[in-house]
């Protein structure tokens, strides 16, 4: 076990009591470059922060070059101040690829939830609840644009988990695409997500 791994083991997995206390909620969105991971994180962060009025810190990690899209966005939500801005134990992992799923599913909180694209889950990891949804498939088949998979996922987690209000996430998406020709597409995608989330919620509860 390398020095770093040890350090990780020692530090990474513990949320400080005060953070528990303040109701810190750690979300990680992960996938491949080009899947719009960062903008998904931004939209979710903005919706929860500006829309729902909670404290949010959103950060991401880049590869050794600036230009490569980051493939991991962290959104920390809390009622109090947020100190450490990266996920420690993950409450919610949204994974779009098998790599993302495998890499981070071990960092989950015992009662954490993984929302994964259907194609992302090959093996099951015991620790956390896993919900697989065919985001990419729907995006490709229904919308002819794989890129909207992340918007669908945003809608999904809103209605499925309630961590962001439907209004806020919808407003955030609307603001973002306000002057774009893709506005309608994205508004449809978010509605699709809402619908999916509601369906899954029924299924699981």
């Amino acid at each position: 076990m390398s020095h770093q791994d040890k350090r990780e083991k020692k530090n990474r997995k513990k949320k400080t009591p005060i953070e528990e206390h303040l109701g810190r909620y750690d979300i990680r969105i992960s996938g491949a470059g080009g899947q719009g991971i960062i903008s998904t994180g931004m939209l979710l962060g903005e919706a929860i922060s500006i829309g729902d009025g909670k404290n949010v810190s959103q950060s991401q990690s880049y590869g050794p070059e600036a230009r490569g899209g980051a493939t991991r966005a962290d959104i920390i939500v809390s009622d109090g101040d947020i100190y450490f801005p990266e996920c420690q134990e993950i409450d919610l992992l949204v994974a779009f690829t098998p790599e993302a799923y495998e890499k981070y599913s071990t960092a989950m909180k015992p009662d954490g939830i993984i929302v994964a694209d259907k194609n992302a889950v090959n093996i099951m990891v015991g620790q956390a609840k896993v919900v697989t949804v065919p985001f990419i498939e729907i995006a490709t088949k229904k919308f002819k644009r794989p890129i909207v998979a992340n918007i669908i996922a945003l809608g999904f987690i809103s209605t499925f988990l309630g961590i962001v209000s439907q209004k806020s996430i919808k407003d955030a998406v609307e603001d973002r695409f306000a002057s774009s020709s893709h506005l309608e597409l994205n508004m449809k995608a978010i509605e699709e997500g809402f619908k999916l989330g509601r369906e899954y919620k029924k299924k699981f509860s």
């Binding site: 020692k10 530090n11 404290n55 600036a66 990266e86």
Partner: protein, 389 residues
């Protein structure tokens, strides 16, 4: 429908990166000139300025390199524009000669350093605080630098405005030390909370041009050379010069001028110093940190306090001149057992801390330099070691 981007008390809200908050702060402070050269992780500041300045009639220019960028903002400042550049370690290293020139001619400019891992090309996309000492001692010669810092995105906005304020007030370059994490992290920012008059325009000289000396300081020792092209023709030079701006080699005059350059800042350190304290009233273990490291430290302190450990934090908002007196005052007040310096580097702030405290207090340090932010638990571990030491 759109998100409601107005705060309850009527200020615009944004959910943005630290780098974008820096852009907003600069514009609010009246910055109307930006010259820069792209470099990770500061580039979004240049990009934001390129987008926003033309809207306000200000000027953005991407220069051929960092040397030209700093020169251009100094020139722009001499012509009367509030100006700024942003870069990272390698860019700062290249700018140093001309930053020294700005000290010498007493020209207000703001230089943002979004720090990344070094030395050399180092770790371009990873956070670091390893340019802390460079901000104090980077250029050649004797000079007195000012450096501010921020540990939240809101603070990036606030401290950018503050940097312009301080630069204008002392007519000197001011560093704003950020880092990759803060630069790229998104948080909510409330805009325009500051009075629009926050950054004072210095009164135009009242004396007639014939009598004008650009370096005739008022009692606070600060000179504010009049902008070029307004009828006050004078000389500025990087050579040691007299009050008229002409080179001098008279020893007494050299001594006096260099002392003024130093004293205008050192005699007013209290106006520059800023720090935030957390739980210091009764602390036995005080962490000193800034920027990203201070966030982790804040987490550590809150945690420790929950477990009844008397930990406290001093989160420095001004790094240089080093706020030794206020720190000492705090430590004198409280029940200090050890000081822990937490840094995302191999140990830099520890030097002025050691110098300040001498052997009087036990000093420990926690450092991380692999490109990743310090974590609260790492700091907690060191505090615990101190408890059982």
């Amino acid at each position: 429908m759109a998100l409601n981007r107005i705060s309850s008390d009527g200020h615009p809200l944004m959910f943005v990166q630290g780098n974008e908050a820096c852009v907003q702060g600069a514009l609010h402070a009246g910055c109307r000139f930006f010259a820069g050269y792209p470099i990770t992780p500061s580039t979004e500041i240049a990009e934001g300025m390129a987008r926003e300045l033309p809207k306000l009639g200000g000027t953005f220019i991407q220069m051929e390199d960092e040397i030209a960028s700093i020169a251009a903002i100094i020139g722009a400042s001499a012509a009367g524009a509030r100006s700024m550049t942003a870069t990272s370690g390698p860019g700062i290293s290249l700018m140093l000669e001309n930053i020294g020139f700005a000290y010498m001619i007493q020209m207000p400019i703001v230089v943002v350093n979004v720090q990344r891992g070094g030395p050399s090309t180092g770790l371009p996309t990873k956070l670091s605080q390893s340019d802390t000492m460079q901000a104090r001692w980077g250029t050649h010669g004797d000079f007195t630098s000012i450096a501010l810092a921020a540990s939240t995105v809101q603070e990036v906005y606030d401290m950018t405005i503050r940097a312009f304020e301080v630069a204008e007030h002392f007519s000197t370059p001011v560093f704003l030390l950020l880092d990759e994490l803060i630069g790229h992290m998104r948080e909510k920012v409330v805009l325009n909370k500051h009075d629009n008059q926050a950054v004072v325009k210095h009164a135009f000289p009242e004396i007639p041009p014939e009598w004008y000396l650009p370096y005739t300081e008022s009692l606070d020792l600060v000179s504010h050379p009049a902008p070029f092209g307004k009828g006050y023709r004078y000389n500025m030079t990087g050579l040691v010069h007299d009050r008229a701006g002409f080179p001098t080699s008279i020893p007494a005059e050299i001594t006096e001028r260099l002392e003024t350059l130093r004293n205008k800042i050192l005699k007013h350190k209290r106006e520059i110093w800023q720090l935030r304290e957390y739980y210091t009233e009764d602390a036995k273990y005080v962490i000193i940190a800034y920027g990203s490291a201070a966030r982790a430290a804040r987490g550590a302190v809150e945690s420790l306090r929950l477990k009844k450990t008397k930990a406290g934090l001093i989160d420095l908002k001004s790094i240089w001149p080093f706020p030794d007196e206020p720190i000492k005052e705090i430590l004198d007040r409280c029940n200090i057992k050890s000081v822990i310096v937490a840094e995302n580097n191999m140990g830099q702030l520890i030097h002025p801390v050691r110098e300040m405290l001498g052997g009087s207090v036990k000093i420990a340090s926690v450092n991380r330099y692999d490109g990743h932010p310090l974590e609260p638990q790492e700091i907690i571990n060191v505090v615990k070691e101190e408890i059982y030491a």
